[in-house]
Symmetry: C2
Subunit: 108 residues, 2 copies
DNA sequence: TTTATATGCAACTTTTTAGTTGCATAATTG
DNA sequence: CAATTATGCAACTAAAAAGTTGCATATAAA
């Protein structure tokens, strides 16, 4: 689905989710939901919801072991965001002067 | 403010706003709000609200001329998003095997 | 000057999002 | 087995977001 890119953008739009994702990227081992929760000033269920959204976007993967669900980050989907940005990067690479000229041509 | 990055992520989280931004990047001249509105199946005020959010994020700039407000895209703030992603790119560059090994070390 | 156009502002509705609490259940540990 | 732990599910609240309509106003065109 082309809807995936939407889930991805939504997932990283929230600062708490970016923090959770970052914590998982930095973690030296996969972390259970409870372990993650202790790092955030929020209820476990609140964290669980964020993780579900990250998981739906493909940014967090799970590994069920008994009563634990170990989570780890998977940054690969971010490639899509990167791809989206690449088109626009040609414009921010312009010098300010060049951008100025470009805009001058736009204003009638 | 470090809050700017938040506005930026929020701004690009909405598909309509990404469309508006894209249309402005592609436009050969700055476009008035009414001109932009005609391209979207939405009221002018709806579009205005999106443009305000894009403007707050720095992605759209204005140029008032009489009763018109000509809008044009400014992709430069996206550099910040790019910077945010750069850290994670080291992981998606890993081959699947390498990622696999990395994850193995994570799982008890 | 009259009319038409481009816009802003305010109030409102609907939907989504972020977060909570409470309870049930399955897996572990003592 | 009894107690503890990790979790999911459901219901709920509060706030933010997306979008609407109506009206006022300033500019431009006839």
């Amino acid at each position: 689905m082309q809807d995936n890119i939407n889930k991805l953008f939504k997932a990283i739009a929230d600062p708490t989710r970016r923090d959770i994702f970052h914590a998982l990227v930095l973690a030296t081992s996969a972390l259970s939901i409870t372990q993650i929760s202790t790092q955030f000033d929020m209820s476990r269920q609140g964290v669980t919801k964020h993780i579900k959204i990250l998981n739906d976007a493909g940014l967090v993967q799970m590994n069920e072991q008994g009563r634990n669900r170990f989570c780890y980050a998977d940054p690969k989907p971010l490639k899509e965001v990167n791809k989206w940005m690449q088109f626009y990067s040609q414009f921010w690479d312009d010098s300010l002067d060049k951008l100025g000229n470009y805009l001058d041509t736009k204003q009638t």
